[in-house]
């Protein structure tokens, strides 16, 4: 019985995910695509939950849906971007884009080796947040520290980019 | 400190002296005169009947695959005359070089580099060393044409020449590497003498010989101006300043012939046999096609360029037939041709500096105004046409008799007839040029600055005396050359 429920949940989340991702890509205004991206992130969190990766699910929802999308919305508002005007020869680009992605999807399907029934085994003992933390701080300590450095660099980069812009504006204003 | 190393070092020291603000022209003249002294001393004291003398080996750098490449110098009957040619032409070229010229030190520096490269190329007994010195001499010629050349298209011409010759050198390098890599690794060396002994006892595989010979032929052919690859030569010589044209047409062009004679013919005899018909066809093109193209030239400078390319046909005829007499004729004719072409370019330079005009239609009456120049120019023109009593004729007659022996097959005598027709064609265009420029009354171009200065007279006397000596006593060159060739080739 509970397997029926979990499969139902999976399908709901999957269809939701696909629908909203199409919406983000094809959305008219940036705000609507931002909102549909938030929904996609939430559905991905759900999918992770069905895979019994609870911590990651929560992380996904919080970091992505929360922080990243807020940043997007903030930028969209800051730059008050308008509707995207349709260019004259847009269909060429759309057609080639769709062809490319269809082809790539078809190739990926071929490569994924579907058809062998590979049921998901039950989750073994000790695969919860504690083991994840231990793994993180023992085997993957170096990458962990590197991500810290990466984030630092990102912050400095952002300040550098935006900071300069303001200086020039001030000087121009003053001159 | 063997004399050969001195030959290469003196010009380079001259460059250093020029760099240290020494008066460029006198340093260059002193250096080339000193080299000429060394070369003539070597020529007089060379009595080894074809043996190698003054050998000198200095390991240079180790290329893992190519075995030990070293600075190997050595002299025998074949490259001694070419070294003497380099000495004479370099002195007369520097005598003709103008005293006041903008950026004088770079100008004379480049000339000295060319001379050092030529000496090195002819003196070296090592495959790679020969190649490197030749490249060493090409770059300054490119600069000389580009900066101090004449004519408004000289920049594009210097580029075309440099790229063309580099392409030729690459093909040549392919041939050389093919030659080296077809040897078993343990005996793979770039020392020409060891190669010669090895290859004469057990030669390479026939079809690899064919391939190697083809690349060497086309590579050296481009450097010399073999028929379809000759278009760079007349343009770049007419655009070059006189000393550069003299050095390049007179000396550097002979490196290709020397290379074919030293490397291609002896090491791949089967290949030579295989490509013989191609070479014959190309040299017929060289003699007749370029000959008739020379007939159509309106400009005295281009005419000399085409004539020097055409005479290369005879050298190739000698190489194609491969008999002892023909090959000795090739050595003698390349020396004589070097002298006559450089002399004619010197004459052209003097006429152009006095009249500022190169088109033959508007020249004329030079012999009336400057009798000495007319007299020497007629001698040089007659020499290049092959008048007996002057060096070219002795070389040509050796080549004709030698190739008549060598080329037995029916149509090959056709190549011989084409070469003989070439003699008539060359006399037609050379005499027309002499008549247009020297005889008759003064043309549109005024001739000022009458009379040849002493340096100009000496500059012209060097090739004229050399040609007369070669004409009357050719055994100076032919005996030693024949001895060394019979030692180097396996007949």
């Amino acid at each position: 019985m509970e397997s029926f429920v979990s499969s139902l949940v999976f399908w709901v989340f999957a269809t939701g995910l696909v629908a909203f991702s199409v919406l983000t890509v094809a959305g008219r205004s940036p705000v609507s695509s931002a909102m549909s991206l938030v929904a996609t992130m939430i559905f991905v969190g759900g999918i992770l939950i069905t895979l019994q990766a609870y911590f990651l699910g929560m992380m996904q929802v919080m970091v992505y849906a929360g922080a990243v999308m807020v940043l997007f919305l903030f930028i969209i508002m800051l730059l008050n971007l308008d509707q995207e005007s349709v260019r004259k020869k847009a269909w060429v680009k759309a057609l080639s884009g769709v062809a490319l992605c269809g082809g790539l999807f078809w190739i990926l399907l071929g490569g994924l080796g579907l058809g062998q029934s590979r049921p998901l085994p039950p989750v073994p003992q000790g695969s919860d947040i504690r083991d994840l933390g231990r793994l993180l701080f023992t085997e993957y300590l170096l990458p962990f520290e590197l991500t810290a450095v990466l984030l630092l660099v990102a912050i400095v980069g952002v300040i550098l980019l935006c900071h300069q812009v303001r200086d020039r504006a001030a000087k121009k204003g003053g001159a | 400190m063997t004399p050969l190393l001195m030959l290469v070092l003196i010009p380079l020291l001259g460059v250093v002296a020029i760099a240290l603000r020494a008066p460029a022209r006198s340093v260059a003249l002193a250096a080339s005169a000193l080299c000429l002294g060394v070369v003539s001393w070597m020529a007089c004291s060379y009595n080894a009947a074809g043996e190698f003398r003054w050998e000198w080996v200095q390991p240079w750098f180790q290329i893992p695959l190519l075995g030990s490449t070293a600075l190997r110098f050595g002299v025998d009957g074949v490259n001694l005359p070419l070294l003497v040619l380099t000495g004479m032409v370099s002195v007369s070229a520097l005598l003709v070089a103008p005293a006041k010229i903008e950026r004088e030190s770079e100008y004379y520096g480049c000339l000295l580099f060319v001379i050092a490269g030529a000496y090195g190329a002819f003196a070296s007994m090592d495959l790679m060393c020969m190649y490197i010195f030749h490249e060493f001499a090409l770059i300054p010629t490119f600069l000389l044409i580009g900066f101090w050349g004449n004519g408004y298209r000289r920049i594009s011409i210097s580029f075309q020449m440099a790229l063309y010759l580099l392409a030729g050198s690459i093909v040549l390098l392919l041939g050389m590497l093919g030659l080296l890599f077809s040897l078993p690794p343990e005996i793979r060396t770039t020392d020409l003498r060891v190669l010669q002994e090895v290859l004469s006892s057990y030669p390479l595989h026939p079809d690899s010989q064919g391939m190697i010979y083809f690349f060497l032929l086309i590579g050296f052919g481009i450097l010399v101006g073999l028929f379809p690859f000759h278009t760079w030569a007349p343009k770049s010589y007419s655009a070059a300043p006189t000393p550069a044209a003299m050095l390049h047409a007179g000396v550097l062009k002979k490196f290709g012939i020397y290379g074919l004679l030293r490397v291609a013919e002896p090491f791949c005899p089967v290949g030579a046999e295989e490509w013989n018909s191609l070479l014959l066809m190309l040299l017929i093109g060289n003699i007749l096609f370029v000959g008739w193209a020379a007939l159509s030239q309106k400009n005295f400078n281009d005419l000399l360029g085409y004539s020097s390319v055409m005479h290369m046909g005879y050298l190739f005829l000698g190489l194609a037939s491969g008999t002892p007499a023909a090959l000795t004729g090739v050595v003698l004719l390349s020396v004589a041709h070097g002298l006559s072409v450089s002399g004619l370019y010197a004459v052209q330079g003097m006429v152009a500096s006095r009249t500022g005009e190169v088109e033959m239609a508007s020249l004329g009456g030079v012999a009336k105004k400057i009798p000495v120049l007319g007299f020497l120019a007629v001698i040089l023109a007659m020499a290049s046409v092959g008048l007996p009593g002057l060096g070219n004729f002795a070389g040509e007659i050796l080549i004709f008799f030698g190739s008549w022996q060598g080329l037995s097959a029916g149509w090959q005598t056709g190549a011989m007839l084409a070469a003989l027709v070439g003699v008539v064609v060359s006399s037609v265009y050379m005499l027309r040029a002499v008549r247009a420029v020297f005889y008759g009354t003064e043309g549109k171009a005024r001739i000022e600055g009458v009379g040849l200065s002493l340096t100009e007279r000496v500059a012209l006397l060097i090739p004229v005396v050399g040609l007369l000596v070669l004409g009357f006593v050719p055994t100076l060159v032919t005996d030693d050359a024949a001895a060394s060739l019979s030692r180097w080739f396996v007949w």
């Binding site: 080639s96 884009g97 490319l100 790539l104 190739i107 990926l108 071929g110 | 075309q160 063309y164 379809p228 000759h230 278009t231 760079w232 343009k235 096609f289 370029v290 008739w292 193209a293 007939l295 159509s296 008999t323 002892p324 007499a325 000795t328 009456g365 012999a367 009336k368 007299f375 007629v378 008048l387 007996p388 009593g389 004729f393 007659i397 050796l398 004709f400 008799f401 030698g402 008549w404 022996q405 011989m416 007839l417 003989l420 027709v421 003699v423 008539v424 006399s427 037609v428 005499l431 027309r432 008549r435 020297f438 005889y439 008759g440 009354t441 050719p474 055994t475 032919t478 024949a482 019979s486």
Partner: protein, 601 residues
Amino acid sequence: MPEKYWWLILVLPLLSAASVALVLRPFRAVSMGVSLLSAWVSFAVALWGFWSQAGSPESVRWMSVGGLSFQFGLVTDGLAKVMLLVVTGVGALIHLFSTGYMSEDPGKSRFFGCLSLFMFSMSGVVLSDNLAMTFVFWELVGVSSYLLIGFWFEKPSASAAANKAFIVNRIGDFGFMIGILTVWSLLGSLNYTQLQSFANDGRVAAVPAGLLTVAVLGLFCGAVGKSAQVPLHVWLPDAMEGPTPVSALIHAATMVAAGIYFLCRVFFLVELSPVALSVIAGIGGLTAIFAALIATQQDDIKRVLAYSTLSQLGYMVLAVGLGSPAAGMFHLTTHAFFKALLFLGAGSLIHAAHHEQNIWKMGGLGKKMPVTFVTFAIGTLALCGCPFLSGFYSKDAILIVAYETNRTLFWVALGTALLTSFYMTRLFVVSFLGEPRGDGAAHAHESPWAMTLPLVVLALLSIVGGYGSAITGALGLQGLPHTHPMAAVGGSVAVFVLGSLAGFLVYRGAKEEKITFKILKSKFYVDEIYEVCVVRASDAIAAVVGWMDTWIIGGVMVRGVALCASVTGQVFRIMQAGNVQVYAFWFALGVAVMLYWMMGR
């Protein structure tokens, strides 16, 4: 050790030429003296050589490589001695004559330098003992005639004539070299004595006839070039641009005779191929009649004499072709004397009439210049074949040989003899008798002794020349006719009388040209034909080839390579559209293709 003295004949003129060229150029008198001295001393040595039985000195090695060796030795048999006498004798006389003729010319030292160079190369041709050396001196003679014809190089016509002479000679030498190479490859040696021994012991007969004919015709082609036979005769009339002593020395007596001398020298080869003999005889006869016809219509005194030389050379070649080199050589010797006399006479006429060369502007010079008048008369009579003069005997010998061997050529020879006496009398009558028609001729006066003395000496030689049995005996050649058939001798005398009478009657007191044949006056349009189908054609080919060289090979091939390099550059440039998305697209496409390829689908 008397053999060594033979070398003097070569070394002296060479030294004088070299000293004039290098040192003596500014001192005109000294250079003239040196060259005169060298000419007379070598004549003395030739005379000594002729009487003494000195053998030839051993040969000097010029160059030797492997099997091929070039020696340089002297041949001193009868033929060479006679020819040497002629060359040095006439040369010395002409040196003396030119001291007078060129007295006021500024370039005099250069002239004498070139004359000495010519004497050196001509005696070299006579004395050399192998084919290669003959070729060497052959070309040297060509160059010295180029220098002498183009002596007044300011005159464009003179330099053009010099070029023409040298190039036509070069074409002849082209055939000559082919002949030498074939002889060498067939018989393996170049030395005359060796070749003679091969001919005697039948080795030459063993050679395939076709190749032997090619060899002999090649050698004959050299003679055609040098002795101006029909196809290559165009340079001789233009060579009259040179000073008159040059025309006398080179284009009458010595250089043009080199061809015939060489044919006699290699006659042992020539006679072995009957085809070649008939070709030689044919060309000789054709040249004789052809030139005689043209000579009748020429107005320039030197052109008339030039064409008459052409026709006499035709005679000699005819004689050799008919198998009697002795008659040819005999006629050559006598012809050298009276033709040199006629040319020098014409020279003194021109000198006196202030460089007037057109005979219709001369006239009445007989009274003013008695010595030239008498000597010129003797020369004309000798040339026309007046009995008891040298011309008669030598021309008669040829007529007899022709009569005995080839009847058609006999009539051709007879016709030429008729024309010869006609145009010579025309020349003589118009220029010497009647009243002076040009102002130059009006106040002409006799030339100085330096010019008239050689005329007198040559006149004596023209008279005595015919009887000199010593000359014919010394030749050592076969083929001199012994019988004297009445028809030939009678015919030649009749023709002489007829021709001179006709000439005298037509042109006595004539003011301008009576009979005009357009075709003859313009020399059968040979020059124009050559100009169009040789010179203009080769210039057209040259233009096409030159255009092809600069545009097809230089342009298409070289520029083509450069062009396709830049074209590929252009193509790839279009891909860099600058738009980020396009890059992303290409990137994704690349990934897809790679995946597709990796999975080996």
